[in-house]
């Protein structure tokens, strides 16, 4: 059972920014961190103002005019992936159990080549603003867009709630600000970035943060290596001498010991990433398929580099934080909980000024990620639901902009409200659920719409719904919720991660309801595949950049 719970914790790291750091040992106000964070906020608000002047059309709002370079988009994508959860969470995992932290990084990273090989270019060639453009390319607009928008909104909102709760607790710890104010501050800044600056501001906030986080972690890794005379062997040796588990930290430690659960988690991480709406949306911000391709290459490079640094940071922290009495409280536990390891290491290698920098970066990271999420949710409402379903593509630019801004505001209010509501709830299951839903609701249908001629509207809707229902149901019946939250003795569904089953079911339902669809509509939809195929392969007819 313990193993399964730690397993759930693993998937938790993905989204929940440290909901586990729940002990309320609020620190005193950390002024160097606060002033550096204020600098970041002022800079990003300046960028938002600059972006607001350039955000006139819906294309500007959704895709920054579609004119970003592969490098810029790659940094932004990397920024979305190297969140506070991975920075603080993976470091904490390596500190606690060594090698198991590495397993998690690998799962995330291995999803990226798949996105590059199978998704990125086709998505850019076929779509305009949202991934629903691609799914509904040859299918009936209304039902497909409604289901896709529903999938996007579910993922974005659940993800936002998880982020908000984690963010509130982290900020409380790092800056000594009340949970209430922390959550409100995140909500207000998120709404400001998105409503005024659209995708342009959201992307630049993400790029700046990615550069800050990458330079901060590079410096930390360098200082750690310097401490050990630039020998990783010395570092690992020192770590296994100090760690209670000894040299066992250099081997897998039971986190993935059940093959079914291990594969299921792998499926969830790999295909969940390929189904996250705020990530998919970034492929429309570049000029063409070639730039989309380049952006994934840069993104994979940055993400991989970041995870390599985390190995050094995590194992270095075992010695440099673990053996340092100043980072432990009277009971010998780490001050502020396990998720503060990376922050303590920052202090150990760079003093209080660098500590302030890393704290500010952690805050900036949360802001940048929630802004992207809010934007993807708002686009689903204004582009998919309002412009394409309600107005049948006849909506005016002004009306669409108004709807997207109103949607951002509503999403912001919902996120803050739910964040406050769930403050003391156990929401660890949410994060596992988000990835499972993204993998089961969005990915199978998106994949089939691009690769399988036979997919029909009926199949697409059935596949999405089957994925959604089974992912939610299996998470509720799994040990994470059934035992840990609802308090039953044993789980109905024995595995912690439902992805293998829910993704499989989504694929099966999409297939079955397509092949049994004998309507004339289905016949037409299959007939339109060839034109879609030509466009997805060559990009002929794809929407280009918006030139001012």
């Amino acid at each position: 059972m313990k193993r399964l719970l730690s397993f759930a914790l693993l998937s938790t790291l993905w989204v929940t920014e440290l909901a586990t750091a729940a002990d309320n040992t609020s620190r005193s106000m950390n002024w160097s961190a606060i002033s550096m964070f204020l600098l970041f906020v002022m800079l990003t608000l300046g960028i938002t103002r600059w972006a607001a002047l350039r955000t006139r059309t819906t294309s500007d709002f959704y895709t920054a005019g579609g004119g970003l370079s592969g490098m810029q988009n790659g940094l932004a994508i990397a920024g979305d992936m190297i969140s506070a959860a991975s920075f603080l969470g993976i470091t904490a995992m390596m500190f606690m159990s060594g090698y198991d932290g590495l397993l998690y990084s690998l799962g995330v990273l291995a999803g990226w080549p798949i996105i590059l090989f199978l998704i990125a270019e086709r998505l850019r060639n076929l779509g305009k603003y949202t991934f629903a453009d691609v799914v509904s390319y040859r299918l009936e607009q209304t039902p497909v867009r409604i289901t896709s928008a529903f999938g996007t909104l579910t993922v974005a909102l659940l993800y936002l709630v998880a982020q908000m709760v984690g963010a509130g607790k982290l900020i409380e710890l790092l800056f000594g600000i009340d949970y209430l104010y922390a959550v409100m501050l995140v909500g207000v800044l998120m709404v400001l970035y998105v409503t005024f600056g659209g995708m342009l501001a959201t992307t630049w906030v993400q790029i700046i943060k990615a550069v800050m986080l990458l330079s901060g972690t590079s410096f930390m890794a360098f200082m750690v290596l310097k401490h050990f005379g630039f020998s990783t062997e010395t570092m690992f040796a020192a770590a296994s001498q100090i760690h209670a588990k000894g040299t066992a930290i250099m081997a897998p430690g039971g986190l993935l010991s059940n093959p079914i659960d291990a594969i299921s988690l792998g499926v969830g991480m790999m295909f969940g990433t390929a189904g996250l709406p705020h990530i998919l949306m970034r492929f429309f911000t570049v000029r063409d398929a070639k730039q989309a391709r380049k952006s994934v290459f840069y993104a994979t490079g940055f993400i991989g580099f970041f995870y390599l640094l985390l190995i050094v940071i995590g194992f270095g922290a075992i010695t440099m934080v673990g053996s340092e009495p100043m980072f432990r409280d009277a009971q010998g536990a780490i001050v502020g909980g396990g998720n503060m390891i990376a922050v303590h290491l920052a202090q150990a290698v760079g003093g209080s000024l660098f500590l302030g920098f890393i704290s500010a970066v952690a805050f900036a990271t949360i802001l940048a990620v929630v802004a992207g999420l809010a934007l993807s949710g708002a686009s689903a409402v204004s582009h998919d639901l309002y412009a394409c379903v309600m107005c049948k593509g006849e909506a005016s630019e002004t009306a669409q902009m108004l709807v997207s801004r109103a949607a951002t505001l509503v999403i912001g209010i919902l996120a803050v409200g739910l964040g406050l509501l769930f403050e003391s709830q156990n929401i660890a299951f949410l994060s596992g659920l988000v990835l499972a839903i993204a993998a089961s609701v969005n990915f199978p249908v998106l994949f089939l719409s691009m690769f399988w001629k036979g997919l029909t509207t009926r199949g697409a809707v059935a596949g999405s719904l089957a994925g959604l229902v089974s992912a939610v149901a299996l998470v509720i019946l799994s040990p994470t919720v059934w035992v840990k939250v609802l308090g039953f003795d044993s789980a109905v569904f024995p595995y912690s991660n439902p992805a293998l089953f829910s993704v499989g079911l989504a694929f099966f339902c999409a297939w079955w309801f397509s092949v049994t669809d004998r309507s004339t509509r289905a016949e037409h939809e299959r007939g339109r595949f060839i034109a879609q195929f030509v466009r997805s392969m060559t990009g002929i007819g794809a929407t280009g950049a918006n030139h001012h």
């Binding site: 990273l109 081997a251 594969i263 290459f297 002929i540």
Partner: protein, 102 residues
């Protein structure tokens, strides 16, 4: 949707070649990634001891090396894909675009 003018492209030798090269490239690379990653996951599940063995007498384990190698492989494969796509596929695509783009 103006689909009609696209149909002659299907018989164009450059298009046929483009599709063949593209499909061979992305399916084979996808297979490599899936095999390596899920092979690794199964190794972790079934034979964690093998990964925990010392690499060369020291503390550094085989698993640590394998993990780092997989990370580098992933980055390398994306680089390889981009290189092949830029050099082998884009030129074909450009000619097709010139010929068929309205």
């Amino acid at each position: 949707m103006t689909d009609q003018p696209l149909y002659p492209i299907l018989a164009h030798p450059d298009f046929v070649l483009l599709v063949r090269r593209k499909q061979r490239l992305y399916w084979s690379l996808t297979a490599v990634v899936l095999l390596v990653y899920y092979g690794f996951v199964l190794l972790v599940a079934y034979a964690p001891g093998a990964l925990g063995r010392s690499l060369s007498g020291g503390v550094t384990s085989v698993g640590m090396l394998v993990g780092v190698l997989i990370m580098l492989l992933v980055i390398g494969l994306t680089g390889f894909y981009v290189y092949r796509a830029n050099h082998l596929i884009d030129p074909l695509n450009d000619t097709l675009k010139q010929e068929f783009e309205p």
